[in-house]
Structures are given as structure tokens and as C-alpha cells.
């Protein structure tokens, strides 16, 4: 290697380092650091046995959520974003999407009233007053929406509201894939 070339390479080193750092920081700009990956992806739903919301005496377990791919939505009346996504969930339910609800650390009376007032998109609603199921699911901020496959395995988690865009770009393609794999 000639001396000149060597010198050029040496001088280019800091620039290359700088550009690498720039790239790293640039791709970090678009990321939301508050979004955590779920530790439960590709794991079966945690075992639970909890009352059905508004139906004391009726119990729901993880086996009741098996059978077909579905959404599992963690919600509460104290959560403003849950209210914001409620209409979207209703329209999804009307389109035939199966949505199970986890009413997370909520007052059941208020929750039942909310469903009466705003409509009920949920096939089943689990009353998780203590928040233990929430802990088992690694829930850290309602609303969270999990995608379950037909065997009750968690395949995806979305944190935050489900809106038109999230549904179209994130949830629907994954759910379709699971439904396709089934038939």
C-alpha cells in the first residue's frame, strides 16, 4: 500500500466513525423508547381462573380463549386511551374479529356500565380486579392488545390504542396470517 493511500485511509477513519455514530443515532430517533418487547411472545397464555365481568359465579380460564385466532384487549374505565380505541374495537367486532377483554384493575360496576353505555365488543370479559393476570401478561400500560393463535399462544403484543392504522398495518396482517395457517 502506498504511503498516500495509507494516509488517506487513516484520515478517513474519524469520518467513518462519525458516520457510523450518525447512523446509529438516526435510527434511534424514530424509536419510541417507552415501547417494550413482550417477554411472552410465542408462549402460551398464563394459566388463570377469574370471574367473568358482570357475571359473578361464572369463571373463565385460559382454555376458554382457545379455538381460533383472536385479540386479547387489556382495558379499564380509568384509562382514557381505552375509551379512544373503544369505537375501533366495536367496529372490528362487527367485522367478525374475536376480541377477548381483560378488565384490568377496575371497578366492575363501572366497567359493566361502560359496556352498556358504549357497546360491548368483547366475546368474553375477564375480571382482573387484583391485576394478577396483568402481571402474568407483563402488562405495563393499558390499553394493550395481544394476538392469540388458535392454540392460545401469544403471538404479538401492541401497546397503546388500536386505531385504523394500527389495525391495517400491524394487527390485521398478523391475524390474517394465523387465520390462513389454520384453514
Amino acid at each position: 500500500m502506498s504511503r498516500g493511500l495509507k494516509l488517506t485511509l487513516l484520515l478517513a477513519l474519524p469520518l467513518a466513525g462519525f458516520l457510523a455514530l450518525l447512523g446509529l443515532l438516526w435510527q434511534g430517533l424514530g424509536r419510541d423508547p417507552s415501547l417494550l418487547p413482550s417477554a411472552l411472545i410465542d408462549r402460551p397464555l398464563p394459566a388463570f381462573r377469574l370471574a367473568a365481568l358482570g357475571e359473578p359465579g361464572r369463571f373463565i380460564s385460559q382454555d376458554d380463549l382457545k379455538g381460533k385466532p383472536a385479540l386479547l384487549n387489556v382495558w379499564a374505565t380509568w384509562c382514557p386511551t381505552c375509551r379512544a380505541e373503544h369505537e375501533m374495537l366495536r367496529s372490528l367486532a362487527a367485522q367478525g374479529v374475536t376480541i377477548y377483554g381483560v378488565n384490568y384493575k377496575d371497578d366492575p360496576t363501572k366497567a359493566v356500565q361502560w359496556l352498556k353505555d358504549l357497546g360491548n365488543p368483547y366475546t368474553l370479559n375477564i375480571d382482573d380486579q387484583s391485576g394478577q393476570l396483568g402481571i402474568d401478561l407483563g402488562v405495563y400500560g393499558a390499553p394493550e392488545t395481544f394476538i392469540l393463535d388458535a392454540r392460545g399462544v401469544i403471538r404479538y403484543r401492541h401497546v397503546g390504542a388500536v386505531d385504523e392504522q394500527v389495525w391495517r398495518e400491524v394487527l390485521e396482517p398478523r391475524l390474517k396470517l394465523l387465520q390462513g395457517g389454520q384453514g
Partner: protein
Amino acid sequence: MRRWLPLLLALLAPPALAAIDAEHRFDDPAQEARYRDLIAELRCPKCQNQNIADSNAPLAQDLRQKVYDMMQAGRSDQEIVDYLVARYGDFVRYRPPLRADTWLLWFGPFAAIGAAALGVALWLHSRAQRTRPALDEHARQRLAELLRQHDEDSR
């Protein structure tokens, strides 16, 4: 003196230890210390830059309760940390585990410092090599000569 008294008193006052978590008490001080250590080392998933000891978020309260309950049930620190990692991922640990995929995190800074030190050493070495032949034996004699002359002239 009077003017300084409030300041003096303020300096002497013991720091107000406003414990967020007052509800969990242990009879055994060793257990209490273990509990404090554990909740100080666990990160709150909701309030990301706080541990669950410092945070008053409902989730942090629930997790403190969980840690407390598990300790009362006789679980080890490792079991409690594993329990939370299984649910919230490695994110809940302020001390990341040493694994193949975390080597870069643990050793990367040392590797970078080592590489930089090596680079500087090589550079200094090559510079020393380059500057040494600038004064060969002949030049050094000439320099000594000139200096001697200079001394004589200035006398």
C-alpha cells in the same frame, strides 16, 4: 449569629427520608434490607427511569407487593427476579445478565478503550521511529560544535 442559625439548623437536620413505600415492613432487619435491595434493583416497566422502590405508579406498587408476598412465601432473590423477568423481560433488571448476546454491552466499552489505547501506542511508536533518524551522529556533533561556539561567543 442569629442570621445564620436557621441555615445552621437546616444543615444539621437529618435528611428527610421520604419513603414512598411505607406499607411493607419486616420484623427481621436483615429481611427488610433484602427487600430494600431487591426493589432498588428492579426497574419499573411503566416509569422507565425509576426502580420500583422510588416509583409511586400503581404498577410499581403492585410489583412491590408481589416482591413482598414472594419473600414472605420464602422465595429466594433469584426466584423473584426470574419471576419478573419471565413477565416483563430483562428490562426489569437494572443489572443486565451476562449472556452471549450481552457481551457487547458488558465488554464493548473496555474493548473500545483498549482499541483506542492500542491505536495511540502504535501512533506514538511510529512517530518516535520517524523522528529518531532526524539527528544522526554527524548532525549531533555539528550541533555540539555550534553550541560550544555560541557559549564562547556570548562570554
